[in-house]
Symmetry: C2
Subunit: 476 residues, 2 copies
Amino acid sequence: MDVEAHGSDLPKRLLRKGDQFILDFGGHRTGHFGFKLVGEGSSIDAPVRLKVTFGEVPGDVAEPLYPYKGSLSSSWLPEEIITIDFLPQTVRMPRRYAFRFVKVEVLDTSPNFGVRFFDTHAIALTSASSQPAPLAISTPEWIRRVDEVSIATLRDCMQTTFEDGPRRDQRLWIGDLRLQARASYVTMPNHDLVKRCLYLFAGLPRESDGFLPACVFEKPAPSTTETFILDYAALYGSIVLDYLQASNDLAAAKELWPVAYRQIELLLKMVDDQGLFQAPKGYWAFIDWNMSLDRSASMQGVIIYSGRRLCELAQLTGNSEQVKPLSRRLDEMTAAAHQHYYNTAKGVCVSGAKQQISWASQAWLTLAGCLSREEAAGALRRAVIEDKTSTQPTTAYLYHHVVEAMVVCGMRQQALELIKSYWGRMVDDGADTFWEAFDPNDSTFSPYGDVHINSFCHAWSCTPTYFFRALHLLDT
Amino acid sequence: MDVEAHGSDLPKRLLRKGDQFILDFGGHRTGHFGFKLVGEGSSIDAPVRLKVTFGEVPGDVAEPLYPYKGSLSSSWLPEEIITIDFLPQTVRMPRRYAFRFVKVEVLDTSPNFGVRFFDTHAIALTSASSQPAPLAISTPEWIRRVDEVSIATLRDCMQTTFEDGPRRDQRLWIGDLRLQARASYVTMPNHDLVKRCLYLFAGLPRESDGFLPACVFEKPAPSTTETFILDYAALYGSIVLDYLQASNDLAAAKELWPVAYRQIELLLKMVDDQGLFQAPKGYWAFIDWNMSLDRSASMQGVIIYSGRRLCELAQLTGNSEQVKPLSRRLDEMTAAAHQHYYNTAKGVCVSGAKQQISWASQAWLTLAGCLSREEAAGALRRAVIEDKTSTQPTTAYLYHHVVEAMVVCGMRQQALELIKSYWGRMVDDGADTFWEAFDPNDSTFSPYGDVHINSFCHAWSCTPTYFFRALHLLDT
């Protein structure tokens, strides 16, 4: 790939029909792209037509985007054709893009003139406060780099909401918000942004019963769709609790309390007489994108975890009385979980009719406090480290919860190794920001049928910095 | 072609990937195109990408623009690809276009939603004053229609200058300006616009000697190129004279006098001892695009005609003394023209070593007053009407001067018939505005190798309304 390192030599090149260049901004940016275009020749007697392609990774600008084979809309493919009528002209590309690389192809000028590009520049956008100091120089190099990439990922997803990814979707999801907010508190806190996101959800509940949607579209006006995710709704209160502890904004926490409480109230109706959560048909339990995952045990864990955190929030907001029955119910569910999902003989949690052993089940039942510390450590060791046939995560979202569960039960060294093997490997493969999808054995892997539609700066992948800085995992 | 007549039914159609429609605005417009785009479906979860093609004639939107075979820049091809991030959205296409038809293709939405177009509209731009009343209903239908199309052509070329064509080039040329200004005085006068154009040329003379460039680029800042056309420079004073007579703006005429005088002064240096104009090598004498035309006789006519009109201007601006030697020189040139270019035996003007008989030579030597009225009428009759082998015009610019010459020597009926056979035939072929290039026998004819790059609203074709309204040719 013929890449212009800084754009500084670019003005020396007089470009004509068919010429092209690729700029490398040295790191990922969410924002705008601009330049000054000057014509040179006997007569600037026609418009200039350019094709501009924005790349998060080299493949975006080095490989043709068409024919496109993906299942998501091709309108997300990051390219534009623009026509500039009069030269010289200062051009600012009309939309917001996510990019490190920019490829510019001169589709045509006229036989009478060529063009030179001056002052090619990115205008990076973020609502993050100033970046944190790097980790101490004594910290292992790979940890410092994973931390930097985590922070860059978070920074470029922090816009007017916490976006899931700035290239594509650009949507606010409860699941992503929870992880991003946690990472932000120890790096680039913006309490107003978290608060704004919490209220966006609180303002758009399902009319019939107050259940929260899984995601929100912010523009052109806040709105949502008929997408409900059981575990995401459960975790809303956990975000409010984190926010309160980070910001001390008790007024907001009190105002949001009924919304948080309502989610658990509704979800407890889906718990049967044995104390087991039973997802109703037609409802989406997410946990991870792995379609072969049996989610029964994980969902039991998510509901208990979320309920426990809601009780903590109740203490802080003066609602202890209201949650007393809930607290008792959670105790019953915890006992039922241990009895139903923990296989004492095997020393692991199992889920579903086929007694599936998955990373997800161990992680969530650990985080929910359904296992003793020893049981949890044993289960995680067996399922995650020893058993190569267990059902694994396909997303950083579930990797996060596995790492967190390991920390909870004292497996700090193993947690660090898991971060290294997943996020560290992405860095080894050239990531500036952490990716939405990553298969170390297939660089063209895409959940959507075409790698060029993947998002390479994806919010829920940003949490290693949380483990390093909030849980001090780097001192392990 | 599946054309939406008014756009009124368009909102009833929910459009998805691959769908398209064509709007017909019922007449030519120079300006902007806008619409309101609304999404409809389970989730408006992606941008909308559209391809928009602007057609002056049906072929522009009914036939593919690519592969493009033309010699002019493909950047003039009237199409855009735009991506709209958030719906609903009011969209105004970013540039100015020339169109009657607009084709919109939905490149993609997402599987979850379609789009509806509301309020599709054109914002027509012109600097013409309000349109004149139509010709009397008793006027022959074809004349009324040719008049309407002339006025539409002029209207859509009157912008911040008198453009040669709003689709392509969009440039101010002396030759086009002269004809447009004349047509405007009797239809949609805008004296300030003519004045502005005269000063744009006056402000951009060749530094070395004050010779005027043939054309001016207005944007982003007035500028010109090394394009000089001998006959265009000569005719500058004629535009000033027309302007003075239309506007009574004596102050401007006086201020522009030295510029006008300087052109003739320079051109007279190219006249030899016999009184014959000899174009120096490397200079461009235009007259018409017909490359086989011998221009000697025509240029003699243009210089004399322009000189005579400069003398008229001198009378009105108090510069009579200055032009006394010029007047004598023009008398000598007139005698030399008659002697050298008029073949008494054949009763026609001839030009060049091969004694070429052309419409151009008869027209310009008639307009210059080099022939008696009888000689002129005879020459025009023989060369234009009877002699099918004479060298003919390829542009409306020269057709104009042939018609004008016929009127000058009393051939009003033949002049009207010539208008009918040329402009009337274009109307019969569906013109809403008069075209840059027209070959009745080849609808794909282009001077540039590809009909899709032709301009179908071209300024110098607008003068029939001048003949009808200023020269009252419709009463013939």
